[in-house]
C-alpha cells in the first residue's frame, strides 16, 4: 500500500514539474510550486523523514510561496513567450543526454536498491547515532543524550557546527536582502526618480514588504 502511494505521489511530482515548465502565468506557476512542495512533504512522511516533512511543509510550501508571491507583486505576473522556439532545443538535448547517462549509472549492480538495509549509507555513523540517542541500559556512555528523537539529537549535538553555519547563511541572506531592497537606496531613488520611472513606485513598496520576509526566514530556522 505504501509502495503504491509512493509510486503515485512521485509520478505526480513529475507531472507538476512538467506543468511548471509549460505554464507562463507566474501566479499559477507559484501555486503549482507550492503544491509540489506539499507533495514532497507527503513523500518524506512515507519515507520515514517526519522532521524533514515538517520543515518542508512549513518552509518550502509556506515561506517560499509567500516570498514568490511578494516578488510577483513587485515584478511581472506573466512570463513573455519565447521569441525563438528553437533556442530551447540545445538545453533539451543536453538534459536528455545527461538524464540517460544518470539512469545508466543506476543500472550498475552495485547501486543499492531503495530500502536496502545493507546499503553502505547505513553502515558507519547511523547505528552509533541511534544508540547514543537514548540512555543505554547497562552500558552507561557519557555521550548518551536522553532524547528519543534521533534527528533532534544529531542536529543539536553531532552536527551542531553545521547548524551554526546554517544560521550564518540565513543571517547573510537576510543582510543581502536588506542591502538590495531596503534602507537608503530606496529613499535616494524616491527623491530623484530613475530613468525607468514606472518601476520606482514598485521599488519603494519593496522596502516595506522585504523586511517581514527576511524576518520570517529567521523564524523558520
Amino acid at each position: 500500500m505504501i509502495t503504491a502511494t509512493n509510486l503515485v505521489l512521485l509520478a505526480f511530482l513529475v507531472v507538476l514539474a512538467w506543468a511548471i515548465a509549460r505554464i507562463r502565468n507566474l501566479f499559477v506557476v507559484t501555486m503549482l510550486a507550492g503544491i509540489y512542495s506539499l507533495l514532497t512533504a507527503t513523500v518524506f512522511v512515507l519515507l520515514d523523514a517526519v522532521d524533514v516533512a515538517f520543515t518542508e511543509a512549513a518552509v518550502g510550501a509556506g515561506i517560499t510561496t509567500v516570498l514568490f508571491l511578494g516578488a510577483l507583486l513587485l515584478t511581472d505576473r506573466e512570463a513573455k513567450p519565447r521569441k525563438n522556439r528553437m533556442a530551447s532545443l540545445g538545453p533539451m538535448l543536453l538534459v536528455v543526454l545527461l538524464g540517460v547517462a544518470l539512469v545508466y549509472t543506476t543500472l550498475d549492480p552495485r547501486m543499492p536498491h531503495y530500502g536496502d538495509a545493507k546499503a553502505p549509507a547505513h553502515g558507519r555513523l547511523a547505528p552509533e547515532f541511534l544508540a547514543d540517542s537514548v540512555k543505554q541500559v547497562g552500558a552507561e556512555k557519557p555521550t548518551a543524550i536522553h532524547v528519543p528523537n534521533v534527528v533532534t539529537t544529531t542536529l543539536a549535538s553531532y552536527r551542531g557546527f553545521d547548524t551554526l553555519g546554517e544560521v550564518v547563511v540565513i543571517f547573510t541572506a537576510g543582510v543581502g536582502v536588506l542591502i538590495l531592497l531596503g534602507g537608503n537606496g530606496i529613499r535616494r531613488r524616491r527623491r530623484n526618480p530613475a530613468p525607468h520611472a514606472d518601476s520606482s513606485g514598485a521599488g519603494s513598496s519593496g522596502a516595506g514588504s522585504s523586511s517581514p520576509g527576511s524576518s520570517g526566514n529567521g523564524a523558520g530556522a
Binding site: 511530482l13 511548471i20 513523500v43 515561506i63 540565513i170
Partner: protein, 119 residues
C-alpha cells in the same frame, strides 16, 4: 524485474525531476521561473537523500520500546539544514530579481542582455 524496477524507481524519478529543473533553469528566460526551476532541482536532491536513508521495514528514527529497525537519521539531518539554506538563497535570488526589475523594467533575461548590449 519488478523488484529492480521498484528498487530503482525513486532514483529515476529523482533524475527526471532534476533534469526538469535543470531544463527550466537553462531554457526559460523569465528570472522568477528560473528560480522555481532551481528549487525543483534542489528538492530532487532532497528526495534522493531521503530515499537513500530509507530502510525497508524501518520506521521514523524516534526511539521507542519494541521497535528494532529505524531509517537512517543522518540524511534527514543534512536535508533539514539544506531546506532552510535553500529558502535563504531563494529569498536572496528574489531580492535580486526585484532589484533588476527596478533597474531595467523587465525580468526577462534576454531583454536585459539586449539592453546591456545597447549601452
Amino acid at each position: 524485474m519488478w523488484e529492480s524496477f521498484l528498487g530503482l524507481y525513486n532514483y529515476w524519478i529523482v533524475i527526471l525531476l532534476m533534469m526538469a529543473g535543470f531544463y527550466i533553469v537553462m531554457s526559460r528566460h523569465n528570472l522568477v521561473k528560473k528560480l522555481i526551476g532551481l528549487s525543483i532541482f534542489q528538492s530532487s536532491v532532497f528526495l534522493f537523500y531521503i530515499s537513500v536513508g530509507k530502510v525497508a521495514d524501518g520506521t521514523a528514527p524516534i526511539i521507542e520500546e519494541g521497535i528494532s529497525s529505524y531509517s537512517n537519521p543522518l540524511p534527514h539531518v543534512l536535508i533539514l539544514t539544506a531546506i532552510v539554506v535553500g529558502v535563504a538563497t531563494t529569498s536572496l535570488g528574489l531580492a535580486l530579481v526585484v532589484r533588476l526589475k527596478e533597474a531595467y523594467g523587465t525580468i526577462e533575461e534576454d531583454e536585459i542582455n539586449e539592453m546591456d548590449a545597447a549601452d
